[in-house]
């Protein structure tokens, strides 16, 4: 791997992928690392420069791998540790960095640590988890998996005590008040860092530490744990990165950046549902308001933006009225609703409307932050709500129109998940091979979009300044970095719009449209009139000649 860049993550275009869902080289019906390695050329051609792998550790898979039973190896279903190393090497050769999951908050109840901890109250690992005689401690702490769990405490019949779990009851929380736990987790991270992993996505970080009388989220002690890990990582492995998964309001998220000494990146959860809301309302208000509320972050930090991921489209960080609106507009079928969210992929959410898909990806790539593309969204894959939990958005990658969609040579009945079969989203209709052949497919368009994005450092590193044209259906903003200025203008409406922009500050500049590189009229004294088709967007580079 070439010399580590300091702030490489600001220029990253991340591709989130589940090993199990991507490509099966072994024919057992599950994707694996060898298969993933074979598809690195595809990812390189797509243009992404960072891969985020979902958990691949040994696990009973009762929470799709987020219930980890061993942190230092690879789930045999996906291959061996050597397979992983080979994949990592191959990725680095192509200039692609790798982010892996690190679930700090909890383990599987099948993890040896928990097995030991629960075996008796005097076991040395007893204190590695949070135990209590009653289930009344930490009252007032909210439930996260509302649809399945009734309490954050579960009764252990073996040691006859309750243990604390913020997620599923088979995922007991680790006790970060125990220094041994912290040391062990650092050790584990070091193990992977030494192997060459470029970054960790730390899952469920707000919940590491509990204190009585609080909501047990975002506590100062939690921040201390992270700061400690970050300090060690910077000392021993400079240029690596920590990405926070913390579904919180922007003001609360700010704390996770510390003074630039905690997380390098954090997901901007509240923005994502508002992008969908703004699109349905045909009003930029939800988007601009949440970004206005978003605090400044340290220079060396970055927001992470995404449209969809492996979880439900979370509606935790919206008001009740907004949630009802989103449910009514995007999840009319109640089966689509889960845990205060909507379990659908990008294309079905947008009614498979190519214009809307392009617009949302355009916003993803031009709003301030590092964009993440969820595997399959680059070709417009669909979802299967009937698969339960969130499995409907984790179906096998569709490579071609033939056997198993090109995912696996195995018998279809042995696949880890059924393929999409319907005429609209089925693998015969939506697959990489057919889209690669056409210049105007969604895949080809995504490649062009990513290429322009990567060629424009302003978009990754620049500031944002909103324009507020009187037409509320148009979202327009400047992105600036040094002398470079980009103007992004987005029509959130299903109808053509005219908009007058106040560009006086840049009088004399010529607008150069960034995809076709055609020039537009020079900015004069009068408001700049633009007309946009339904859901159309423009990126302009402002040039002074």
């Amino acid at each position: 791997m070439a010399a580590q860049d300091g702030l490489w993550y600001k220029d990253a275009v991340i591709y989130q992928v589940h090993v199990r869902a991507f490509y099966d080289s072994s024919g057992d019906g599950n994707g694996d690392f060898r298969g993933l390695a074979q598809k690195l050329d595809y990812l390189q051609e797509l243009g992404v420069n960072t891969i985020w792998l979902m958990p691949f550790f040994p696990s009973p898979l009762r929470d799709d791998g987020y219930d980890i039973a061993d942190y230092r190896t690879v789930n045999p279903t996906y291959g061996t540790l050597d397979d992983f190393k080979a994949f990592l090497e191959a990725a680095h050769q192509r200039g692609i960095r790798v982010i892996i999951e690190m679930v700090l908050n909890h383990t599987s109840d099948q993890h040896p640590w928990f097995q030991e901890s629960r075996s008796s109250r005097s076991n040395p690992r007893r204190d590695w988890y949070v135990w209590s005689d009653t289930d009344t401690k930490y009252k007032g702490t909210r439930l996260i998996f509302l649809d399945t769990e009734l309490s954050n405490w579960a009764w252990d019949p073996v040691s006859k005590q309750y243990y604390w779990h913020r997620f599923f009851s088979h995922q007991p929380d680790l006790n970060y008040d125990n220094p041994q736990v912290r040391e062990e987790m650092w050790d584990i991270m070091k193990f992977w860092l030494q192997m060459g992993v470029d970054a960790f996505r730390l899952d469920a970080v707000p919940y590491l530490v509990e204190r009585e009388g609080t909501n047990c989220e975002n506590l100062p002690e939690t921040h201390e744990v992270i700061k400690d890990l970050r300090a060690r990582m910077d000392r021993e492995f400079p240029g690596r990165m920590l990405l926070a998964e913390a579904n919180q309001w922007p003001a609360d998220l700010r704390a996770y950046f510390g003074n630039g000494d905690e997380f390098n990146m954090a997901f901007h959860f509240p923005l994502m549902p508002r992008m969908f809301m703004g699109l349905k309302l045909e009003d930029r208000k939800p988007i601009t308001e949440i970004l206005k509320q978003t605090p400044e972050i340290p220079e060396n930090c970055q927001w992470c933006l995404f449209l969809r991921n492996h979880d439900e489209l979370t509606l935790e960080m919206v008001t009740d009225m907004e949630r009802d609106y989103m449910y009514d507009e995007y999840a009319k079928d109640k089966a689509m609703r889960l845990n205060l969210g909507i379990r659908r992929r990008l294309a079905p959410l947008l009614d498979n409307d190519r214009r809307r898909i392009e617009l949302m990806n355009g916003l993803l790539m031009s709003l301030p932050g590092t964009p993440i593309i969820y595997y399959g969204d680059e070709i417009g894959m669909g979802d299967n709500v009937n698969l339960g939990d969130r499995h409907g958005v984790r179906t096998p990658m569709q490579w071609e129109g033939g056997w198993n969609g090109g995912f696996s040579p195995a018998d279809p009945e042995t696949l880890y998940s059924p393929l999409m079969l319907n005429p609209v989203y089925g693998f015969q209709a939506i697959n990489v091979q057919s889209q690669k052949r056409f210049e105007h497919s969604l895949l080809s368009w995504m490649k062009r979009l990513i290429r322009v994005r990567k060629a424009t450092p302003v978009l990754g590193r620049g500031s944002i300044q909103f324009l507020y044209p009187a037409n509320h259906r148009v979202l327009a903003y400047f992105r600036k970095l040094g002398n470079e200025t980009i103007l992004a203008v987005n029509n959130l409406s299903s109808k053509a719009q005219a908009v007058e922009l106040d560009l006086k500050e840049y009088r004399g500049s010529i607008l150069v449209e960034m995809f076709g590189r055609n020039i537009f009229p020079r900015i004069g004294d009068l408001p700049y009139l633009l007309t946009l088709g339904p859901y159309q967007f423009f990126w302009f580079r402002l040039r002074r000649i």
Binding site: M277, D283, K292, T319, R473
Partner: protein, 422 residues
């Protein structure tokens, strides 16, 4: 096609930025700074509470205010540009204002609002009076829901009004509209009402905007046009309506708007009132008693004095308007002492009809004919107050029915004079 030329370039640009909407709330104003702020805030609260997902806009058509009325209306806007406040709204709410030419005239304001509603393709429009200080957020729901969700064309209000409010409506407009057109809505001349976008566009296409009905009395004209055009009308109970304490009552202007409009309508709808019109169905939503009891501080002696004075001074004018028997009877009535004074329903109906005929034939200037009716109306108001001073709500309703019967009885007289003169 809407007459876009009544919309200034600046206003058209504002409409362009608003884009198509579901709801327009129109507010016609003229120097209403004292009350419009409160009204518009209540409108906004109503829209946010009952129609948070609908795309709405408040449109103010102003007749040339100099007291900051327009700014007060614009301040109701909700956008991402305004500083965050305790108002939480799902979407942007535009609140725009324009000054129309030729004002102040409510008809022109309504014309402007209709044109804007048509251009914005709104599904419904509500017009609210800037003086409706008793307007509550719930009024928005009661006006708009019957159109938006129940598919009605025109929603007329019912208010709970003080006993002696709206005398001209009760003594002239209601009986005439009821008897001649079969239209028995309580408020045929509404100040707060709503209609569907489709109805608004059709009304906009009517050829009245260069005539008097396009300047004043437009609301009454619209009610009659919709009722006689067999559109779906409903009445919706809104709440209490009180007049502003300091608002002077210009009886002459009120007479122009009501009698003038009604008399003009006789020409347009001759075939309807010549026969016996079908009663027009106007169901009532959420109805409550529409009259609130309470004492009156109206000076009845003054009404009597102005009646007798008017009859005496306007004698030469009445000679050219009224038939000799009616004229003589009025003269006789003017000589009756106040204690025994009674302007009967029959005489009043006959007088009104003869005025209508004079208006139709334009025996003198039409506006003068309408003005000449005012002192006579005062006499009738005196009798109305006397009759109903101690009457219960039911008794008042019965008295109103009797008055309508009187108008019905005198109708052949109207028809004779009308046809005889042709």
């Amino acid at each position: 096609m809407p007459d876009e030329s009544i919309l200034s370039d600046g206003f058209v640009r504002e409409l362009m930025t608003v884009g198509d909407v579901d709801i327009v709330v129109g507010v016609p104003t003229y120097n209403d700074a004292r009350s419009v702020g409160q009204v518009v805030q209540a409108v906004r609260a109503g829209l946010l509470k009952h129609f948070p997902r609908e795309r709405s806009v408040i449109i103010n058509a102003d007749g040339g205010s100099r007291d900051g009325t327009q700014d007060l209306v614009r301040a109701a806007a909700i956008s991402d540009l305004s500083v965050a406040s305790d108002v939480h709204a799902l979407r942007t709410l535009h609140s725009i204002s324009t000054q129309y030419e030729g004002g102040p005239a409510n008809g022109i304001a309504i014309h402007t609002i209709l044109a804007a509603t048509d251009l914005l393709q709104a599904r419904t429009c509500a017009i609210v009076s800037p003086e409706s200080t008793t307007l509550e957020p719930e009024w928005m729901e009661r006006l708009l829901r019957p159109v938006l969700r129940d598919g009605n064309d025109l929603v007329l209000p019912i208010y709970r009004r003080p006993k002696f409010d709206g005398l001209l409506i009760r003594n002239l407009v209601f009986p005439m509209a009821n008897v001649l057109y079969g239209c028995s809505v309580r408020e045929p001349y509404p100040s707060d009402f709503a209609f569907s976008g489709e109805l608004g566009s059709q009304f906009l296409g009517q050829d009245i905007w260069n005539q008097e009905q396009g300047r004043r009395g437009t609301e009454l004209w619209m009610t009659l046009w919709a009722a006689l055009g067999k559109r779906k009308l409903v009445q919706s109970f809104l709440g209490a309506k009180t007049r502003r304490e300091d608002a002077p009552s210009d009886l002459v202007a009120a007479m122009r708007e009501t009698a003038g409009t009604l008399f003009t309508s006789l020409d347009a709808y001759t075939s309807v009132w010549h026969s016996t019109p079908e009663a027009i169905e106007t169901p009532c939503i959420g109805c409550e008693p529409a009259i609130s009891d309470g004492p009156s501080r109206l000076n009845r002696k003054r009404l009597y004095d102005m009646f007798t004075f008017g009859v005496k001074e306007l004698d030469p004018v009445f000679l050219s308007i009224l038939t000799t028997p009616t004229h003589d009877e009025l003269k006789r009535l003017a000589g009756v002492p106040e204690e025994k004074f009674s302007f009967s329903g029959e005489l009043w109906a006959r007088t009104v009809y003869e005025f209508a005929i004079a208006f139709h034939k334009a025996v003198i200037g039409r506006d003068h004919i309408v003005q000449a009716l005012v002192p006579l109306f005062r006499g009738r108001a005196h009798t109305f107050l006397t009759q109903n001073r101690d009457a219960s709500v039911e008794e008042m309703d019965r008295n109103l029915e009797s008055l309508c019967k009187a108008f019905e009885q005198e109708k052949p007289h109207l028809i004779d004079l009308w046809d005889g003169g042709k």
